[in-house]
């Protein structure tokens, strides 16, 4: 696990430089006869050997151990190939994946795609969806908001649609991953969908609806997420002639700041938390999960936060974050960076904000509220 | 020519005036209706090419 985190961060710097450039380029994969036949000719056996490098995050047979990383088992081979290709061309941005894919040839991608396509799909059997409104969205869409039903592209039950090229199966996919993906499409952070097909759908969904859909397809219950912290370079650099501004459905990235019970109880300022959010996404999200749900690293929200740091002096949290993190280069962050990240963590756990910024001197002795 | 009795021939002397009247009205009405739709809605909606 350690090795992985180290490798990932080294790559971050290179990936980030490519982000701005990758924004405008569309996916380089086109469903012409040559490409479709090339992918069809992928050798699953050879893919199996290549898969060895992916087991940590995506599981032995492509069923990922962590909710933040997608299942690849039973996925449409064209879709898998396109995602790998988009990572390599930088059209799809993810620090870890781009590092891994850099070494893959197109032949490797086709073989991997065929290997995963043959694996048995994971995921629980779809538990009844929490709400009828989601079923209407899935089966009929919503004319008023120009939303097309999910079934027409993703197939009944999200089982995939072999009649269309490169349509992903959603059935049994990890709930958190589905949620993150829809939020990423909504904010435009993910933009390798051809002609904004998913971005134009996702940006019209509310976080609650996104949670319903994630629950329906994953067969698990996914709690609605406050709007995803605006990560680095999320807004598409060159908005197309008609930039469909994310409308009211997707609230802006301002954090749900807990109501400060008087300035004394406040720990950080919302602006500070905002800055911290960006830094978190860049440095910590890949191991601790974009939604702080944990992954390779422990979860940083909810119960694990409170048991670890609740009721204790702030110094405990400060030492852990500033001295030991980031894992691959402990203590390499300057004090203000660690402070902002901690402010973000406090904000995501409902610790009250205030007018005064969190700082690594005055607040060290103060005890964090307990829960 | 079928062998018609004089009385039948008398009845048939006006054939096909009725048909002529009917079909002419139909033809002209259809023509006028078509022109109305062509000019009134099609051309009214703007050019196309």
């Amino acid at each position: 696990m350690k090795l992985l985190c180290t490798f990932a961060t080294l790559v971050v710097a290179t990936a980030l430089t490519g982000v701005a450039h990758a924004q405008t380029r569309p996916s380089q994969v086109a469903w012409d006869l040559k490409t479709v036949n090339f992918i069809k000719s992928g050798q699953a056996e050879r893919g199996k050997t290549l898969h060895a490098a992916c087991v940590d995050c995506h599981g032995a047979t492509g069923v990922s151990p962590s909710p933040d990383f997608p299942d690849l088992a039973g996925q449409d081979p064209l879709y898998t190939y396109k995602q790998l290709h988009d990572y390599k061309s930088g059209v799809r941005v993810n620090a870890i994946m781009q590092g891994y894919v850099a070494g893959l040839s197109e032949r490797d991608m086709a073989d991997l795609a065929q290997f995963y396509a043959r694996q048995k799909r994971g995921g629980g059997n779809a538990t009844p969806v929490p709400d009828a409104a989601a079923m209407t969205l899935v089966k009929l869409g919503d004319g008023g908001r120009m939303l097309v039903a999910c079934v027409y592209c993703h197939g009944v039950g999200g089982g995939g649609n072999p009649g269309m090229y490169g349509m992903p199966a959603l059935e049994g996919q990890k709930g958190a991953y589905l949620q993150q993906t829809l939020h990423a499409f909504a904010s435009g952070e993910r933009h390798n969908d051809v002609y904004r097909a998913m971005r134009d759908v996702a940006r019209r969904l509310s976080p609650t609806e996104i949670a319903w859909l994630a629950s329906y397809y994953s067969g698990t219950t996914v709690a609605p997420l406050a709007a995803k912290p605006a990560s680095v370079g999320s807004a598409p650099a060159s908005a197309p002639a008609v930039a469909p501004a994310p409308d009211a459905a997707a609230p802006s990235a301002s954090e749900p700041v807990a109501s400060a019970a008087g300035s004394g109880a406040g720990w950080y300022t919302p602006v500070q938390a905002e800055r911290g959010g960006k830094l978190y996404a860049a440095q910590c999200a890949m191991c601790h999960g974009a939604a702080l749900g944990g992954g390779m690293g422990p979860a940083l929200a909810g119960r694990s936060f409170w048991t670890q740091w609740g009721g204790k002096p702030f110094a405990v949290a400060w030492k852990e974050v500033h001295a030991k993190m980031p894992m691959q280069a402990p203590g390499s962050d300057a004090a203000p960076v660690s402070i902002d990240i901690l402010a973000f963590l406090l904000s995501r756990n409902g610790v009250p904000a205030g007018s005064a910024e969190l700082n690594d001197r005055a607040d060290l002795a103060r005890a964090l509220p307990a829960r | 020519m079928p062998d018609l009795t004089p009385e039948q021939k008398e009845r048939l002397k006006d054939v096909p005036k009725g048909t002529w009247a009917l079909t002419m009205t139909v033809a002209i009405t259809m023509f006028l209706a078509w022109v109305a739709l062509y000019v009134g809605k099609f051309l009214a909606q703007g050019p196309v090419s």
Binding site: L33, A149, G163, Y165 | M1, T19, L37, F42, V48
Partner: protein, 544 residues
């Protein structure tokens, strides 16, 4: 006095064809009611079942009902007109079973949800191979009828040198020729493009070549459907109405014009397609308007024949004869109603065919309303008349309840008007074709809702009428004593003496050569262009 008249020699052959046709017709009517309910949102919203239903409704009405009925009744008409047995009945039966096998295969494929590509196929969306093979068998089987009809004509002319081929047989021979020329387009598309792609022998398809070949078929197939009704109007209705056929020669002229002008004008189905130039569209557009003339000519000649019967029965004054027509005879009623429906149905066609004006209505519900009005209103009403006329002559039994048959026809015409008139209006409002339910913003669908609600009533009436027809025909063949009408009853006798006709109005060779030239001129380049200019073929897609 009831004499037990042996049914016509090929009664069983004809009845087998007509029963298959009308049973399928009954099923397709139920689907029609489902569709008019579904589109109005009454039955919830299910795209998959709607499009499967629309495919089956279209394939049955457009291909199965027509091919089975026309070939079946074609045998009966040829036998009566020429007074000889159907040539090679074995071949006729073989073709019947081939057609039936094809229809069942295609129907099963559609019902399994594997072929929701509608009756117009729409490559590159692909159905299961069984659908295409089924359709091909149905069409291939009908070739037998073409051969039989033309051979019977040739044999008769051989034995009756210098005599005019009886008008009814002349009409059915033209119908056979129209269908032979028409099917070339869709047969090429299905055999050379769709079946190879469905079996995976090829991996991509030139969509625009496929559309051009299908457009070749898509218009003249309408005359294949209509000519039997025109034969009914020209040769059966005047006699049944107690009058005379106004002009035998003009009837033949009309049939020939339908063959010549009806074939090379399919491009009005491609007016909005980019690959064809405005010039060829205009050429075939003008051709389409020329085909208005034989239709209007048929209108005049048949109305004149009815006028004769009306006046003979005491009608006076300019229009008095209309009240005196034999309204209580289902055969005559069917004929008169078909003529009335030809008017509004024809008007819809004028709008569609008017070159650029097609942009106003293309692929809106106006087009669907047009062809329901003209196919359902004119052709199928004619089929009812043919069925009521031939049933006693085929089964040796009287029509079960002529009064009920009158009600069935009135119900059909009223139902069709209630269905199709609001349908035309909804088309002018811009409602697109083939939508399974209202998935647009509510305020947009709201404009159409009152009208699509009314259409439900029309749909239900049509279904009732269709099933009433089945009941009448079923009971007519079974229970009642022999009817006095004999199979020997003749066709309409011409009002004015008909001299021996020039070879051209008695034979078909001249017209076939002329057609070859016209088709080459009209469709030559538009089809060959796809082999000259570099095309980018499309990959096969699913429809689900």
């Amino acid at each position: 006095m009831t004499t037990n008249i042996a049914p016509a020699p090929s009664g069983r052959l004809v009845l087998a064809h007509v029963w298959v046709a009308f049973l399928l017709f009954g099923v397709a009517l139920l689907l029609g009611v489902y569709q008019v309910l579904a589109r109005d949102g009454v039955l919830g919203s299910h795209a998959a079942s709607y499009y499967a239903s629309t495919t089956l409704h279209g394939v049955v009405m457009g291909y199965a009902l027509t091919i089975f009925f026309i070939t079946g009744i074609g045998y009966a008409i040829s036998e009566r007109a020429l007074g000889t047995r159907v040539w090679a009945p074995g071949l006729a039966w073989l073709c019947f079973w081939v057609m039936l096998a094809g229809t069942v295969l295609a129907a099963l494929s559609i019902l399994a949800g594997k072929a929701s590509v509608l009756y117009t196929f729409y490559p590159p969306q692909m159905a299961h191979w069984s659908f295409y093979v089924g359709a091909a068998l149905l069409v291939a089987g009908s070739i037998g009828w073409i051969v039989i009809t033309l051979v019977m004509s040739a044999q008769w002319k051989g034995a009756h040198r210098g005599q005019n081929l009886p008008l009814a047989q002349f009409g059915m021979s033209i119908c056979a020729l129209v269908w032979a020329w028409t099917m070339v387009g869709v047969v090429l598309e299905v055999l050379l493009q769709l079946i190879p792609l469905a079996f995976g022998l090829t991996q991509s398809i030139d969509v625009n070549l496929a559309r051009a070949l299908f457009a070749w078929t898509l218009h003249p197939i309408v005359y294949f459907w209509l000519i039997p009704t025109y034969v009914f109007l020209y040769t059966i209705v005047p006699e049944e109405a107690g009058g005379y056929l106004f002009s035998d020669e003009m009837a033949r002229v009309a049939f020939v014009m339908l063959l010549i002008f009806g074939l090379p004008i399919g491009m009005h189905h491609l007016y909005m397609d980019p690959p064809h130039s405005a010039g060829f569209k205009l050429l075939q557009g003008i051709g389409t308007f020329l085909v208005v003339i034989p239709t209007m000519l048929t209108g005049f000649t048949v109305w004149a024949s009815l006028e004769i019967s009306g006046r003979l029965r005491g009608g006076t004054g300019l229009f008095g004869w209309m009240r005196r027509l034999k309204w209580d005879d289902p055969v005559v009623l069917a004929g008169v109603m078909a003529l009335f429906m030809l008017i509004l149905g024809g008007f819809g066609g004028l709008v569609n065919a008017a070159y650029a004006q097609n942009a106003m209505v293309h692929n809106t519900q106006w087009v669907t309303a047009h062809f329901h009005y003209i196919f359902g209103g004119v052709a199928v009403t004619g089929y009812f008349g043919l069925a009521y006329y031939f049933w006693p002559r085929l089964t040796g039994r009287a029509l079960w309840a002529p009064k009920l048959a009158l009600a069935q026809i009135w119900l059909w015409i009223i139902g069709m008007n209630i269905l199709s008139l609001p349908w035309h209006y909804v088309g002018l409002l811009g409602m697109p074709r083939r939508i399974a339910y209202y998935a647009y913003a509510p305020e947009i669908a709201a404009q159409w809702l009152p009208w699509t609600g009314i259409m439900i009533i029309g749909g239900v009436l049509l279904c009732l009428s269709g099933w009433l027809l089945l009941l009448i025909l079923f009971l007519s063949g079974r229970t009642l004593p022999a009817s006095s009408a004999t199979m020997a009853g003749g066709f309409a006798r011409p009002y004015e003496a008909t001299a021996v006709l020039p070879r051209s109005l008695n034979g078909f060779a001249l017209w076939n050569w002329l057609l070859l030239a016209l088709m080459a001129m009209a469709w030559g380049y538009p089809i060959v262009q796809f082999f000259l200019v570099k095309q980018y073929p499309a990959l096969p897609w699913g429809f689900s």
